[in-house]
Symmetry: C2
Subunit: 317 residues, 2 copies
């Protein structure tokens, strides 16, 4: 049985795994990301680690998930927020020179969406993945295929406008989903709620170390400021999800990313807004659920994309 | 050279055409829709008309576009707003019995999206079609394939929430795009603007016969009530399009439907909101333009879907 190698290139770490044809992680390793280093020496280290992980197992292909704007067809990292030195690099070619195997390069959120889709089988063929972290990202799978858009920018669910008069977003726009449900949006909402209640409270919750998780933990404990912020984030997430349901009619909306662990606090507000704004049939068709693969989603997704691009998807499942 | 037959089933008329492999309408006819009639006798008449139109030309397949919820895989019209008597009918089987040819059944807006995609060639492979009429509908083509969603409800762009505190929509929700840019939304906006300016104006614009077209014609003439309504409709259409650009990154957003003839009045507002709410790269990648096929979009799209389902899309283009 062949395995596939999945690689998830992040700003701090590069995760590497061997993945079975059914999407199971067989062995895993991590190498550090060196900001100063170009992609060629990095892939030298990645290849060594991967070879060690694979051992005597035969490897059929390599899938790479990477933050940034990807030209998947040509294997080029066009824009990279975390590693400016990698901008424009043909990672496909560099990786192929080391591995001498078919290489598939994909945006990390898109790869994660495919991973979550893959592990759900037929129930995952129409799936939207939303990653809640500092920013809000996403990936779309429709009828078993990832949606990239004409220039690879597809899936920017965090920058759907959920309220045109809403707060400023990092992207320069106003009222994006991210401005509510990104971690800075959640902290901002807590600060607003605290201010509305008087500065004593605000001080308590607006110290340097306050994170979105602190806010949502406070909400879980019943803190009124935390609950107000959770409501604001969850309602706007629900409005965006309702629009996505009406436009894409997926069978699953999967929530991942660092804030996904606090999704229980947001979920009631999400569901209330879906009931208000989505068609009943469309809402019924979709499960809203947490990521099954967690931090492995991009890793497994990239490996399984490499697998499906070397063998036709329909035949191999 | 074979032709394909396209059929567009509407509540008043059924349009029929023979269509060339390049998407040109070769001959066309119309038969009336009889509300009381079931699908079997209707297809008797449709088949006779199609046979007359095709003459001695060989026909390779038949594509049917129909309003409602379609199970394209099985050829079943699951829900039909215009023809309740057709609900649940296996139009694929009924049509096949008459034509003895491969049949492709598709939602009419999805078929229209494919038609607009097809006539644009590679520039149309990632395309979003928005139809502005009484309601606001839509269809999505991603990487050359139509997006239907898991239960066939995909493409309901008119029911994206553009302002959660917005006016009521026919669907029961609030602040849907349709509540602003559907013809009833445009007339409502004119009435609101007139009321805000005093009843004399309102009376002038709120007579029984006032249509969205009247309102947008008034806007074109510089009427302040018409202009306010056009601004409200156009801005909210632009907000929805901006979200679509960020999520799907299409190369074209095509505006069709009965109100498309007045799109010039809405376009400046649409473009302003895209500039405010979409990523610059995503906005640059997409042309916002009027339908090229007009009333033929669903007809041509259905015929070309029949063509691509009998021959693989990639090979035949």
């Amino acid at each position: 049985m062949s395995a596939w190698i999945g690689i998830d290139i992040g700003g701090t770490n590069i995760k590497i795994a061997t993945v079975s044809p059914t999407g199971k992680v067989l062995a895993r390793g991590v190498v550090e990301t060196r900001a100063s280093e170009g992609p060629a020496p990095a892939f030298q280290r990645i290849h060594e680690a991967a070879r060690y992980l694979a051992g005597s197992q035969s490897v059929a292909g390599v899938g790479i998930g990477c933050a940034g704007l990807i030209d998947a067809g040509r294997g080029i990292l066009r824009v990279s927020p975390n590693m400016p030195a990698w901008r424009g690099a043909n990672l496909g070619r560099i990786a192929r020179a080391h591995f001498r195997l078919p290489i598939h390069l994909e945006n990390d959120a898109t790869a994660a969406a495919f991973g979550e889709s893959f592990v759900r089988g037929t129930r995952g063929r129409d799936l939207v993945f939303i990653t809640l972290g500092t920013g809000v990202g996403g990936g779309i799978v429709a009828d078993g295929r990832v949606i990239r858009g004409v220039s690879g920018f597809g899936g920017e669910i965090g920058h759907m406008t959920v309220d045109p008069d809403g707060p400023p977003c990092r992207c320069g726009s106003h009222g994006c989903l991210e401005a509510y449900a990104g971690s800075y949006g959640i902290v901002r909402a807590a600060r607003d709620a605290a201010e509305a209640r008087g500065w004593k409270r605000a001080h308590k919750l607006s110290g340097k170390a306050v994170t979105a998780r602190d806010v949502l933990d406070a909400a879980r404990r019943g803190d009124s400021v935390g609950r107000a912020a959770a409501r604001e984030a969850g309602e706007h997430l629900g409005i965006a999800v309702a629009s996505i349901l009406n436009v894409l009619n997926p069978s699953a909306v999967v929530i991942g990313g660092g804030v996904a662990g606090s999704f229980d606090v947001l979920a009631p507000h999400v569901r209330r807004m879906i009931a208000r704004h989505a068609f009943a049939d469309t809402a019924r068709a979709a499960r809203i659920e947490r990521s099954r693969l967690g931090n492995d989603a991009a890793l497994v997704g990239a490996a399984m994309l490499a697998r499906s691009s070397t063998r036709p998807v329909r035949k191999s499942r």
